[in-house]
């Protein structure tokens, strides 16, 4: 099994976001990095984040709970959310699940 690192998780998320952007908006040329914001850079709406939550669950199972992660945030924090912050959360959740 590939060890969980920020790079592998970023690659996973890039795949999910690329598919989502193409399916919903027909966009296929977006560069995604750790500093990319969901709202301003990717122009994702909150309903797209619901779709992303489903993709994360499909990929990682119940170890990663995106809804709970966002539910713990202030509204402004969600608006400013970066791909990097989600990557860190996923890595942390996966490591916690391995340890537990």
């Amino acid at each position: 099994m590939t060890p969980t690192t920020e790079d592998t998780v970023l690659a996973d998320l890039t795949g999910m976001l690329t598919a989502l952007l193409e399916d919903e908006y027909g966009v296929d040329d977006v560069e995604i990095t750790m500093t990319t914001t969901f709202n301003r850079d990717l122009e994702l709406e909150s309903i797209d984040l619901v779709t992303l939550a489903g993709l994360l669950q499909e990929h990682y199972g119940t170890k990663v709970n995106f809804a709970e992660f966002l539910a713990g945030m202030e509204f402004d924090e969600i608006i400013e959310l970066t791909v990097g912050r989600l990557v860190e959360y996923v890595v942390q959740s996966l490591k916690a699940a391995e340890a537990g």
């Binding site: 122009e43 909150s46 619901v50 509204f75």
Partner: protein, 273 residues
């Protein structure tokens, strides 16, 4: 993503159940507001803590909104209540449920409770009201004002919103303008049938009204309490119409208390004795 065909159209539904196979103590159905809203307003706020508390949470996008189908017509309040009824029938969620509605979603939720009192265990209205004679023209005026300004010169209006209210609000406004352009929503809502005071009084289950202290709707709280047999209201200071997303913890806490109380009436009765 779960699409459910109600027989009329396809609605986007999300369900969040208690984790780790914990027992379900109640079912809650959450209905979002008009134009700029979707089930996402619940998915990332009330739904996770409700599921943790043992509630099976059902959320869906109203027709025309979020990921649900967008037919050109059929946007009266009764159409929305028909959709909710058909959806719950299709999901086989026909026992008493706890209805929660934000803004217009609360008007839909209350309308469902008025149509089927036996199917409502409680109703929580967030910045919302039942459909009265006064409600329809009031909402019609708001829709007219917002959409007229957007339709008059959409680019200028969006630029103004972007500069004064931020990029996110501007994008939401653009989405709202598109929904209004593509559908009969702005004509249908003000033409909706409304409830008589007797029909409103007939909702005998516990009702909670939650309002932002700086919202005009907070003025409705005393009327709601006077007209309904079992009603309490809470005003959250320092908030306006967006109190659900801005103060989700407070709003969710009040609704959860109501649901837990209403789900265990015998226990409460025994405790009181």
């Amino acid at each position: 993503m779960a699409m459910v065909d109600t027989g009329q159209l396809r609605l986007h539904v999300q369900r969040m159940s208690p984790p780790d196979g914990r027992p379900v103590t109640a079912t809650a159905v959450l209905v979002h507001g008009l134009l700029t809203d979707s089930l996402a307003s619940y998915y990332f706020t009330l739904a996770p803590p409700f599921a943790l508390a043992g509630i099976d949470v059902v959320m869906y996008d109203l027709r025309g909104h979020g990921r649900s189908a967008r037919p050109a017509t059929g946007y009266t309040l009764d159409d929305n209540i028909d959709d909710l009824e058909a959806l719950l029938d299709r999901l086989d969620v026909t026992g008493p449920v706890h209805l929660v509605g934000n803004s217009y979603g609360g008007t839909v939720a209350f309308g469902y409770a008025a149509r089927h009192p036996e199917r409502a265990a409680s109703v929580s209205l967030i910045e919302s009201e039942p459909a009265t004679d006064a409600w329809a023209p009031k909402l019609g005026n708001i829709l007219d004002r917002v959409l007229h300004e957007l339709a008059h010169n959409e680019d200028d209006a969006i630029a103004w919103i972007s500069a004064n209210r931020g990029h996110n609000t501007a994008r939401l406004a653009r989405g709202a303008a598109k929904l209004a352009r593509e559908t009969s929503l702005s004509q249908d809502i003000p033409a909706s049938g409304v409830l008589t005071e007797n029909q409103i009084r007939a909702v005998r289950c516990p009702v909670l009204g939650v309002y932002g202290g700086d919202s005009d709707l907070a003025l409705l709280a005393p009327w709601l309490q006077s007209v309904l047999p079992d009603c309490r209201t809470v005003v959250v200071p320092g908030h306006e119409h967006s109190v659900l997303v801005e103060a989700a913890g407070t709003v969710g806490g009040h609704i959860l208390s109501l649901i837990q109380e209403a789900s265990a009436p015998e226990a409460v009765e025994v405790a009181v004795r």
